[in-house]
Amino acid sequence: MTIVFDTLAKIGFFFVLIMGLVVVLIWMERKGAAFIQDRTGPNRASIGGVRLAGLVHPVADVFKLLFKEDVAPANRHAALYNLAPWLVMTVAMSTYAVIPFGDYLTVAGRRVPLVAADLSVGLLYVLAIASLATYGVVMAGWASNNKFTFLGGIRATSQMISYEISMGLALMGLVLVFSSLRLTDIVAGQGDLIWGFLPKWGVVVQPLGFILFIVAVFAETNRNPFDLPEGESEIVAGFHLEYSSMKFALFFMAEYAHMVIGASLIATFYFGGYQIPWLPRPLIEANAGLILTLKLIGVALISMMIAMLFFRRAQKEKGKFGDARDREPVLGAGLWVLVAGGALAGLVLKPWTIGPVGADMVASLLQVMAFVAKVVFFAWLFIWVRWTLPRFRYDQLMHLGWKVWLPLGLANLVVTALVMAIV
């Protein structure tokens, strides 16, 4: 019974992580795009005059999409048309079953591994699920009964098939290095050091494989510069053109869920997953008290600095707008002061005298936080690339996939095999 409960808890963790990150990513995408294009970005939605720098917008979006009329084409294939958004979302979420987000957590004397399903063929499972992602898109494109959506579906299919191969080849090099298909083994192997100082991360031992993989992941998630299935300038909006209200929202959320998963895969395979470089788990557990104390002080200092920035802005822009907006910097400063106060209040509990049970929890928590931080960074990379690079032409995409990436992947595999045979 406990295993059922454990698994449900882990699924819950991932559900919260993905859904929370989706909301944050939509905000990050809009604000990031605005930052790159030298604009202010969304800042109009507000709750009682409080705008939170546009963070209210995703909430407003949810309400808008929930209450919008669901307009569907009359000549659709109803069953497939309704199934497609759910399929896209389900497939996007199910990759997470095999991704380890921490080493283990000791709950009431039991060691609970922090991965929902530790499959011995985890890496192949990731590839298999990635190939499933095509179906929702094709189904949507075909069932909408529209030539633009159909073109989008066809494009998505051929693109995903083309880049799956180089993705698999890039990962095979990684499998040779860590000699396991189990994701927990791959992450555990990345905790070692090469020559005593260099973390044995996938990106260090497989630099070419990393570049191949990250481009293939971009192509698989249908994100710019590979967002040809959407291609709004050529085929209007591609496969989700005929969807509206919550069905469209599912496609939209699935895109961001795919981004979260792509970022998690990059972090897991090439950036050590939950591993903190030069800080293996035994070391964290031995010095948990010190680390926790330093961390609380650090959080307090950083949030005090942010609060001071807000406070200075409040001083400088006093009465600039003449309405509720003037209160925003004061509110921001107050929030960060609260965070700093919380961190300092934590010091009263004497964290440096923490026991072994607490040390274990601190270690698990730090590892999960390291994983989430890496995921957020690579999700930001997705956004950064989208607003920096132009879209590929279709023939360029195919050329890159089949004539450049595939031979490079093969070369990487062969060279890796040779090096592994010699060393």
């Binding site: 063929v121 192949l124 499933l132 066809i154």
Partner: protein, 177 residues
């Protein structure tokens, strides 16, 4: 008890869409139904503890073969709103043939001793890999040779026929080289 339930659910997931594949008049619907059948078969493999084969089934049949099947079916013959119509002249020979195959399969399945028991699931990847590289190296290489031949054949088939049209130009390049 729960494992029986899992088996029944997986079997249903395999059989119900399979029936749909056969009887659906719309060939694209049949293709999408086949997706669920193949998924159910992968589930059955996983249920039997063959983790590697289950995932390979998903990767090869769902991720590769079926995508291409759907791709071509959609491109060639998309009966939007229309239904393909097959008469009795096709049903009778197909029925006779299927019944014969079913009889053969039934006979062989019932006459084989399958051995009992649901063994503990153990990782199979390493063993399969070792066997491929040692005991079964010849069949393994032979299959890859067949695949290579198929790939070369496909490449030749899709190549543009330039030689008949640009004969003189071709001759020139030959001289130059």
């Amino acid at each position: 008890m729960t494992s029986d339930l899992v088996f029944i659910l997986l079997a249903l997931l395999t059989i119900v869409p399979a029936v749909w594949v056969v009887f659906s008049p719309n060939i694209v619907h049949a293709g999408f139904a086949l997706l669920f059948t193949l998924f159910g078969v992968a589930g059955l493999y996983a249920y039997m503890g063959a983790d590697f084969i289950a995932v390979t089934q998903m990767m090869v049949y769902i991720g590769g073969v079926l995508v291409l099947v759907l791709f071509t079916v959609m491109m060639t013959r998309v009966p939007l709103g229309k239904r393909a119509n097959y008469g009795l002249d096709r049903f009778v020979p197909a029925g006779v043939l299927s019944l014969a195959v079913f009889g053969l399969l039934y006979k062989s399945i019932t006459s084989v001793d399958w051995g009992a028991g649901h063994t503990e699931a153990v990782p199979t990847v390493a063993e399969i890999g070792t066997n491929f590289m040692t005991n079964y190296i010849f069949p393994f290489e032979y299959v890859s040779l067949v695949l290579l031949a198929a790939m070369i054949g496909a490449a030749i088939l899709i190549r543009e026929e330039k030689f008949s049209e640009d004969e003189p130009e071709n001759g020139e390049t030959e001289v130059q080289s």
